[in-house]
């Protein structure tokens, strides 16, 4: 490709419109930093939270507008794109940002952590996720990955008085650095083989005959390892429980959904979008990772006594299920992945939101005993927690069932019946620990203390609960949207 050095204003505007959602959010991000600088300390926290919420909403609106009326296409010489795939994830991440602001506000206030930096960092992480989703070059992929990760390293250790939070931050930094290095090395090898970093071009240059090139295979393996780190899939999951447990709950909730979705966007974009001719190679790798994740995640979750750790292991297992859709690929597989990632936001975030409500000023309360009598103390919360657990376990008529149905159907159609059978058997195991969470919720308890109230957090719980039911009873639209966004290769 001849570098075309002419760059007009019209081109600049067209490029910018392709990444409008990211640009909008970045504008608000910069504004939030200014607000944090100029306002007196006492008012910063609230003001930045409002800026963040407005920024996420505008970004969401922009992405939805572009989905409805925009024309997606390559931007910045093929380094980024505003295609449906990118927009879908931008919508997801912007919604996640809104939920996170709503969830964290009262939590931060309660724990005396209400500082502007928190929301600014969350915004930075969301920008990173969005960059990842719209990146169509290995360079921009890595850019997004690092932006996302560095912001998260800091928020994980945000509670400076809590050594576990500090440990989480440090651990995540070290392990995340490793993962980034793996990804980068893999990308370098792929670049060496293809001679370009632009993903659609890689797709045309690396044909199935490239599978005889050991360096390209090594590149795939190295990238796969790094990606598996980021989606917290076994056997590269070791950091997940510790980091999830140590980080403040809203951060854990944000990471468990956002990082996972972003990493899946990255996997799909790079593997399914960039290496379609080498599919047999990376499918084997991912099938192995999926199988181990489902086994390790579900078996280890049984023994947990901390809800955060339990949800961490459940997240590992869920990553395994979602990988089935990635492996199956095609319209059916990738639309199932998109659908699942979107609903996963609601069911997982909802569960974390309930635990957030229980937190006290001194720290998070996430043992089984803390849930005791929740159904009595607040029946609505009890019912919603039940919905989230049943949904994660995959009981109809909740969304979790339909997500699994779509993933598994794609898996069987693509000939991965053994993987689906394994997933199903492991789902039986998962029911054991998800239902175990419900035992303290509904068992007879003498506790009568009122569950701390917070309007924003409760609206997050209520919204997630409704979505967990309604998107299940009526899954068609979301699945259709996921289907429209199921093409990770925007074309050259």
């Amino acid at each position: 490709m001849n570098p075309d050095l002419s760059y007009t204003w019209a081109q600049a505007l067209a490029d910018l419109s392709q990444i409008a959602a990211i640009a909008t959010l970045t504008g608000f991000f910069l504004f939030a930093i200014v607000v944090d600088l100029v306002l007196p300390k006492a008012r910063r926290g609230n003001a930045v939270a409002i800026v963040a919420a407005v920024g996420f909403s505008y970004s969401l609106g922009t992405a939805v507008y572009r989905w409805l009326y925009g024309q997606g296409g390559p931007a910045y010489h093929g380094f980024a794109t505003g295609d449906n795939f990118a927009l879908f994830f931008e919508i997801l991440f912007a919604s996640l940002g809104i939920l996170t602001v709503a969830l964290s506000h009262s939590y931060l206030k309660k724990r005396g952590l209400l500082e502007g930096e928190f929301h600014i960092l969350i915004m930075a992480a969301v920008i990173g996720m969005m960059v990842l989703a719209s990146a169509t070059s290995l360079v921009t992929v890595f850019l997004g990955l690092e932006l996302l990760s560095i912001a998260l390293y800091i928020v994980c250790g945000f509670v400076r008085t809590d050594s576990r939070s500090q440990e989480a931050g440090a651990k995540y930094l070290l392990v995340g650095g490793f993962a980034s290095a793996f990804v980068l090395y893999g990308m370098a090898l792929i670049y060496g083989g293809a001679g370009t970093t632009v993903i659609p071009e890689i797709a045309t240059r690396l044909t199935s005959s490239s599978s005889s090139n050991p360096l390209i295979l090594l590149g795939i393996v190295l990238m796969g390892v790094g990606f598996a780190f980021k989606v917290s899939a076994a056997p590269f999951h070791m950091w997940t429980p510790d980091v999830y447990q140590g980080a403040p709950i809203p951060v854990t909730a944000f990471m468990s959904v956002g990082t996972k979705a972003a990493a899946f966007a990255m996997i799909v974009r790079v593997f399914a979008g960039g290496l379609p001719h080498l599919a047999p190679e990376w499918q084997v790798l991912l099938a192995f990772v999926a199988a181990t994740s489902m086994i390790v995640g579900n078996v280890m979750a049984i023994a947990q006594s901390s809800l955060k750790r339990l949800l961490a292991y459940s997240g590992i297992a869920q990553a395994g299920y979602i990988l089935i859709g990635v492996i199956a690929g095609g319209d059916a597989g990738l639309s199932a992945v998109n659908y699942y990632l979107f609903i996963y936001m609601f069911m997982n975030f909802g569960a974390f939101a309930v635990i957030t409500l229980l937190a006290g000023p001194d720290g998070d309360r996430d043992s089984f005993a803390d849930l005791e009598g929740l159904g009595r103390r607040n029946p609505v919360l009890g019912v919603l927690m039940t919905i989230f657990m049943l949904s994660l376990a995959g009981f109809p008529p909740t969304v979790g069932f339909f997500g699994k149905l779509f993933l598994f159907t794609a898996g069987v159609s693509a000939g991965y019946t053994w993987l689906v059978v394994l997933a199903v058997l492991m789902s039986v195991v998962s029911v054991f620990y998800y239902v175990r969470v419900l035992i303290p919720v509904w068992s007879v308890s003498t506790r009568t203390d009122v569950v701390p109230s917070s309007l924003t957090t409760r609206s997050v719980v209520a919204l997630s609960g409704m979505a967990s039911i309604l998107l299940g009873i009526y899954p068609t639209t979301l699945l259709l949207v996921g289907q429209l966004a199921a093409n990770p290769n925007p074309g050259p």
Partner: protein, 480 residues
């Protein structure tokens, strides 16, 4: 629309009653259950016998991407189970004591379970069937766990759920497999029955479906959840749990396993494995029932034995057997709730469930003894009462398929009088012993059990009431 109302009405009622003051719960629960029953009976009254195809069908695209439809329909087989379910729901809610803790939640969960069961019997789309099949587990779990009796109802509840799920989640693979491997990309049961996949795929798919149904029924050797669960279940719940939910498994065999997989043969022939297991269940359940001293457990094991007859009839692959099986599903659905209720009432008065700790109760509670006697005779298959015709037809069908099956199955008929009469005689007859019962049967309880007993006579004297409609079958593949 009618069929949608049949399952949606109890569900909406459940949601409302859950938030009602407990005092109103029973009245409204009974009202809603009666309304659902009235509609079901209405459906049965308009039902046209002797035609092929499902009736009262509803079909709406649900998830067009996977060609999943919201399809409901009833035929001569499912109609009776829908009516039975609605009927027993009324009985179960009437039997609920007002003193139950959180009675509003209890009744709400019962209605939700009833809604799920109704859905299972009416769904004619495989995914919809699966959704109802799984969804009814949720209220069943909470009923067992929160309202369960005994020391550790939670254990029994989770055992029941995990057992059932192990089967039914594998069934999900089967559901997907039907969609993929038949090459038709449809979940329509009637359509799927016309185009079975190759024998080796049938072999695998039959296994996953049959496993789910065998656990639910339960069939020997998958029955070990049943004693625990039935022991833990409160009596009103047992009316639905034993009366209807067990039939869901047998219904699955008849609706899915038999017509969709006419030739499930690879390493062996599943069509012989299941009836052999059924015979094993008949004998094993009866022997275990003989060995029990706990009356509730005795009835639970007798249920295993009776369910064996039903499955045996289904896998006779002929009209007598399968008609007998459906008839027997209804019969058993009348007898077992009555038995559980009576046993609970007796042990309530005697203060123990140990049958050897009491004797000669008949002199002190004659009306109860009379009712118990009729139900006992029905349970052991006395001609003139309902169970006789059903069991006779299943055995006749089994004889036509293979005399050995019928011969061994008939052992169950011999053992049934042993455990039923031993139970009745030991408790009711002989010189009075044990604690003095508080009273005879209450009028309310008599009114409650009277319709069950009445129906035992009606069906016993004229089983054609039911079988005449059974010729209307919704899908091909059954032996009729």
């Amino acid at each position: 629309m009618l069929l949608t109302v049949v399952w949606l009405l109890p569900l909406v009622g459940a949601a409302l009653i859950a938030f009602m003051p407990p005092g109103l719960a029973k009245f409204w629960g009974v009202t809603i259950a009666l309304a659902a029953l009235a509609i079901s009976i209405g459906v049965a009254a308009i039902f046209v016998p002797g035609t092929q195809g499902f009736q009262f069908t509803e079909s709406q695209p649900w998830i067009p991407q996977l060609r999943i439809f919201y399809r409901l329909g009833v035929d001569g087989i499912s109609l009776w189970l829908v009516v039975l379910n609605a009927f027993l729901t009324v009985i179960a809610i009437l039997a609920t004591p007002l003193t139950t803790r959180h009675v509003n939640r209890f009744i709400a969960l019962m209605l939700a379970m009833s809604a799920g069961l109704a859905g299972v019997f009416m769904a004619t789309d495989l995914v919809l069937f699966y959704v109802f099949w799984e969804a009814m587990l949720i209220p069943a779990y909470f009923l067992l766990w929160i309202f369960g009796e005994g020391e550790r109802p939670g254990r029994a509840a989770i055992k029941f759920v995990l057992y059932t799920l192990a089967g039914s989640l594998l069934m999900l693979v089967g559901v997907i497999g039907e969609y993929v491997f038949t090459g038709q990309k449809t979940f329509d049961l009637a359509l799927l029955a016309t185009m079975p996949p190759s024998a080796s795929i049938q072999f695998g798919l039959f296994f996953v479906f049959a496993l789910a149904f065998a656990i639910k029924t339960p069939l020997f050797p998958f029955h070990s959840w049943l004693p625990d669960a039935y022991m833990a279940a409160p009596t009103p719940m047992l009316v639905l749990f034993a009366g209807v939910m067990g039939k869901a498994g047998a219904y699955g065999f008849l609706r899915i396993a038999v017509p969709l997989f006419p030739n499930p043969v690879l390493w062996w022939d599943w069509r012989w494995v299941i009836p052999v297991l059924a015979v094993a269940a008949i004998i094993w359940g009866a022997l275990m029932a003989i060995a029990q001293r706990d009356m509730k457990l005795l009835v639970a094991y007798s249920s295993v034995s009776h369910m064996g007859f039903i499955v045996l009839g289904i896998f006779a692959y002929n009209v007598q057997g399968q008609q007998g099986a459906v008839l027997q599903m209804v019969n058993h659905g009348l007898i077992v709730p009555a038995l559980f209720l009576i046993v609970a009432w007796i042990s309530d008065r005697a203060g123990t469930r140990d049958r050897s700790a009491m004797a000669g109760l008949a002199a002190r509670m004659p009306v109860m003894a009379a009712v118990f006697f009729i139900v006992t005779l029905a349970a052991l298959g006395l001609p003139g009462l309902n169970s006789f015709a059903g069991e006779f037809m299943t055995l006749l069908g089994a004889w036509e398929r293979a005399p050995a099956l019928a011969l061994f199955g008939a052992i169950g008929l011999i053992l049934a009088p042993v455990y039923m009469l031993r139970l009745f005689q030991g408790v009711m007859q002989g010189p009075p012993a044990g604690p003095e019962p508080k009273s005879d049967i209450y009028t309310g309880q008599l009114v409650l059990v009277a319709p069950l007993v009445l129906l035992m006579f009606v069906i016993g004297l004229d089983p054609n009431v039911l079988t005449s409609l059974m010729s209307a079958v919704g899908m091909p593949g059954l032996a009729r």
